[in-house]
C-alpha cells in the first residue's frame, strides 16, 4: 500500500532521513497554519497515486495567500481517480542537482531492485529511455548486500554526486528494510552546494502483510481511516473489501479474490455496475455471521444498490451452515431490503436451499454462476 507523501516523509524523518520541513494542511486549517520559515513554499496535493506533478497537483508559492489559494483551488479534487486527502506545505529547497534513487521489491528477480540516476525530476522516465541514464542492480534484502550491489552504480555517477548519493543509499536502504517496504523512491533527491542531500519527493509502499510486526506503521495507517480505507478495513475485520463504485447497483458478498475480480469484470462487460469487491473467506467464518454482517452494513452506504449477489464456491465449508449465517446476518442488518441472489455450490446444497426457502426471505438460490449473474442483472434492471 502506497502511503501519502506526508506520512512517508514524517516516518522517514523520525528515522533520521533528511526531508524538507513541512506540515499537513487542508482547506480549513491552511489559514491558521504556521508555515515553515523561508518565504518560498511548495504546496503538494496528498494523494495515493503517482504522476501527481504532471496532473497539476504541485504548486509554488511565495506568499501565505498563494499557499492558501492553491490549497482552496485544489481541495477535494481528484487525481487519477484518487481524491486529494490534503496538502503538504514544504519549505522550498535550494539545490544544485536533482538525482534519483529507489529501492523496490523485484518479484521476478526475487530481490531488491536498486535504481539510481544522476538526473532525477518529473521527466525521469523519459531520461531513463537513454542508454545508461538509469543504473540498475539487484540485491538481497539486507544492508550488506544492498551496499555491495550499489557500489558499482555509485562509481558511475559524476564525482560531485558520489559522496551524497553514497550516504543517501545507505540511509534509505536501512529505512526500506526497517519498514518492510516494497517501494521507497526518492525523486527528486536534491543535492545541495555543500554536498548534503535531502529527499524532495518520496514514495513509500508498505507490505500490508508485515504490518503485524510494525505497530508504528499500523498507527499511521489507522490514523487516516478515509485515506487508507481498505487497509484499515482489513486490519479491523481480517478480510479484503474494496468499494469500487459509490453508484454501484450490485452488492457483492463473495469469497475468493480471483473469482470475485473475474465476477466484477464480467458484470462490467454485461453493463452492470458492481458496488464493491470482497473476499469474505468462508473458511474463516468459524460459525459466526460477523464478516457477513460487516459486508451487508457497507451495502447500506450504497444508495443505488438494488440487489445483493452472493457467490460461495465451498470446497470445505458446509453450505447449510453458511445459509444459517447468511440469514442471521440479514436479520442483523434490516436496512438491507433489496433482493438477494445466492449462488452456492459445495457440500450440503439441498439443506441450504431448504433452510433459505423456509425463511420466507426474497433470496433466489442457484448453483450456476451465470444463472445468478442473469438474475442479478434482471433485478438491477427492474429497479433502474
Amino acid at each position: 500500500m502506497l502511503l501519502l507523501e506526508h506520512d512517508a516523509k514524517e516516518l522517514a524523518r523520525e528515522q533520521g532521513i533528511p526531508v524538507p520541513p513541512g506540515l499537513f494542511v487542508d482547506a480549513d486549517s491552511v489559514a491558521a497554519a504556521s508555515l515553515p520559515d523561508g518565504g518560498a513554499w511548495v504546496v503538494k496535493a496528498q494523494v495515493g497515486v503517482g504522476g501527481r506533478g504532471k496532473a497539476g497537483g504541485i504548486g509554488f508559492a511565495s506568499t501565505r495567500d498563494e499557499v492558501a489559494g492553491f490549497v482552496r483551488a485544489h481541495a477535494g479534487s481528484v487525481i487519477k481517480g484518487h481524491k486529494v486527502a490534503g496538502f503538504r506545505v514544504e519549505q522550498k529547497v535550494a539545490f544544485e542537482q536533482e538525482a534519483y534513487l529507489s529501492f523496490m521489491v523485484d518479484a521476478a528477480g526475487r530481490g531488491v531492485r536498486i535504481l539510481l540516476s544522476a538526473q532525477g525530476g518529473m521527466d525521469v522516465e523519459a531520461h531513463a529511455q537513454h542508454d545508461g541514464a538509469m543504473l540498475s542492480a539487484l540485491a538481497m534484502p539486507d544492508e550488506a548486500s544492498i551496499a555491495a550491489a550499489a557500489a558499482p552504480l555509485l562509481a558511475q555517477l559524476p564525482a560531485s554526486l558520489q559522496a551524497p548519493l553514497r550516504m543517501a543509499a545507505v540511509e534509505l536502504a536501512r529505512l526500506f528494510l526497517e519498514l518492510d517496504a516494497t517501494l521507497l523512491e526518492v525523486n527528486p533527491l536534491f543535492v545541495r552546494a555543500d554536498a548534503s542531500w535531502v529527499a524532495g519527493d518520496m514514495k513509500l509502499s508498505l507490505d500490508e502483510n508485515a504490518l503485524g510486526r510494525h505497530p508504528e506503521l499500523e498507527r499511521v495507517v489507522r490514523s487516516r481511516p478515509t485515506v487508507y480505507r481498505e487497509a484499515v478495513f482489513k486490519l479491523e475485520h481480517g478480510f479484503d473489501y474494496v468499494e469500487i463504485d459509490p453508484r454501484g447497483q450490485v452488492g457483492l458478498l463473495t469469497t475468493g479474490a480471483g473469482l470475485s475480480m473475474m465476477l466484477i469484470d464480467e458484470m462490467l462487460q454485461a453493463g452492470l455496475r458492481p458496488f464493491n469487491f470482497c473476499d469474505v473467506r468462508t473458511g474463516l467464518l468459524r460459525g459466526e455471521p460477523t464478516r457477513l454482517i460487516e459486508v451487508l452494513k457497507q451495502f447500506a452506504h450504497g444508495g443505488e444498490v438494488a440487489v445483493v449477489l452472493v457467490n460461495i464456491f465451498a470446497g470445505i465449508t458446509d453450505l447449510d451452515e453458511f445459509a444459517r449465517l447468511l440469514l442471521e446476518a440479514l436479520d442483523a442488518v434490516p436496512e438491507i431490503k433489496v433482493p438477494v441472489v445466492a449462488r452456492l455450490i459445495g457440500n450440503n446444497f439441498e439443506a441450504a436451499r431448504h433452510r433459505i426457502e423456509r425463511s420466507g426471505r426474497a433470496i433466489a438460490v442457484t448453483m450456476d454462476l451465470d444463472d445468478a449473474l442473469r438474475q442479478a442483472v434482471a433485478q438491477a434492471e427492474a429497479t433502474a
Partner: protein
C-alpha cells in the same frame, strides 16, 4: 528454481499437523490418496488426538519416514521458519498455502530454496494436485477431474470455478498447481512450464492469470524459448481493476501502466495462446478445440 517434479506416491509430511487447519487438512489429504507419512507439531501441541506419527522437528520426521515433500500449515508469520526447517531437513518440495506472508520473508525463503536446490509452491495458494491420485493442499474434490489439462493458477477460487465447469463438461486436469496470488512466490508460471512440457499426461495448458506483475509475459517468453508445442488457454482476471488499487491478491496491482491485461494478452497471443476475459468464453474455447 530447480526442476520441479511431482510423483503421486511421494511421501509427505504436514508441518503444523495439530493446528486447526493442519489436523483437518492432513485427514482430508490422506483420504484423497496422498501419502501422508507424518507431521510436526510444536512442543505445546495436543498430540493425543492426532492420527499421524508426530515429530518435534522436520529432521526427525524425515529421518523416520523418508519424506520428500512437506506442506506448511502454519500462520503466515511462521512460514519462513517452517520452510527453512523443511529445507534443512532435506525436503525437496515444499507447499505453503498460508495467506499473508511478509514479502521480505518470501524473498529470504526463495533464496534458501535456491541454495538447497529445492522447489517451493506458494505462498497464498490452495496447493497442488494430481486428480484422483494426490493433493497437497485443499483444492476442492468437486473440481478435481482427471483429464488432459495442465493447470497453473494465481487464484484458488477462479481455478475451482473454471475447472469445475470444464470438468462437468468432460475436460479434466493432468496436474493442477496453484502458484499463488502474492507477487514474490516460490514458483512462477514460466518456471513450471518445463514440467508440463515433459509430462505425457498433459495435452494442453490452462492458465488462470490476473493483472499485475510480469508472470504472464514471462510465460509467453518461455513458451517460445523452450518450443512448448501444446495448446495454451489463458483466462485473465482484473481487466476492470482501477490503477493503484489492490483487490485481495497482493500481486494483482496495476501500477504506472504496467501489469495490464492488454500487455499480457498481447504477449500471450503473440506466441499462439488463446486468451479470454470471461470464464464461459474460455470454457467454450477449450471445448471447441480438440483437446
Amino acid at each position: 528454481m530447480s526442476g520441479f517434479t511431482l510423483h503421486p506416491g511421494m511421501k509427505v509430511i504436514v508441518q503444523g499437523a495439530t493446528g486447526r487447519m493442519g489436523s483437518r487438512h492432513a485427514e482430508l489429504m490422506k483420504q484423497y490418496g496422498t501419502n501422508i507419512v507424518g507431521g510436526t507439531a510444536g512442543a505445546s501441541a495436543r498430540r493425543d488426538e492426532s492420527a499421524l506419527p508426530l515429530f518435534d522437528h522436520c529432521a526427525d520426521a524425515v529421518a523416520a519416514t523418508g519424506a520428500q515433500a512437506s506442506i506448511t500449515l502454519v500462520p503466515p508469520m511462521d512460514v519462513l521458519k517452517a520452510v527453512t526447517e523443511a529445507l534443512e531437513a532435506g525436503i525437496k518440495l515444499v507447499v505453503s498455502p498460508s495467506e499473508g506472508m511478509p514479502v521480505r520473508d518470501a524473498l529470504l525463503a526463495c533464496e534458501l530454496v535456491k541454495e538447497h536446490g529445492a522447489s517451493w509452491i506458494g505462498p497464498s495458494t490452495p496447493g497442488l494436485a494430481i486428480p484422483k491420485r494426490m493433493k497437497l493442499g485443499f483444492i476442492p474434490d468437486v473440481s478435481l477431474v482427471p483429464g488432459p489439462l495442465g493447470v497453473m493458477s494465481k487464484s484458488g477460487t477462479l481455478s475451482y470455478e473454471t475447472c469445475f465447469r470444464l470438468g462437468s463438461r468432460g475436460v479434466g486436469q493432468s496436474t493442477w498447481i496453484g502458484v499463488g496470488g502474492d507477487s514474490v512466490k516460490g514458483s512462477r508460471f514460466a518456471e513450471l512450464l518445463p514440467y508440463f512440457h515433459h509430462d505425457a499426461d498433459t495435452r494442453a495448458l490452462l492458465i488462470l492469470g490476473e493483472i499485475g506483475g510480469t508472470e504472464e509475459e514471462e510465460l509467453a517468453a518461455a513458451i517460445e524459448r523452450i518450443g512448448f508445442a501444446k495448446p495454451v488457454f489463458v483466462l485473465l482476471a482484473g481487466a476492470s481493476a482501477p490503477e493503484g488499487v489492490t483487490m485481495g491478491h497482493a500481486g494483482a496491482l496495476v501500477q504506472g501502466g504496467r501489469g495490464t491485461v492488454k500487455s499480457k494478452t498481447e504477449a500471450l497471443r503473440g506466441v499462439g495462446a488463446a486468451v479470454f476475459t470471461r470464464i464461459e468464453d474460455l470454457v467454450n474455447g477449450v471445448l471447441a478445440s480438440d483437446v
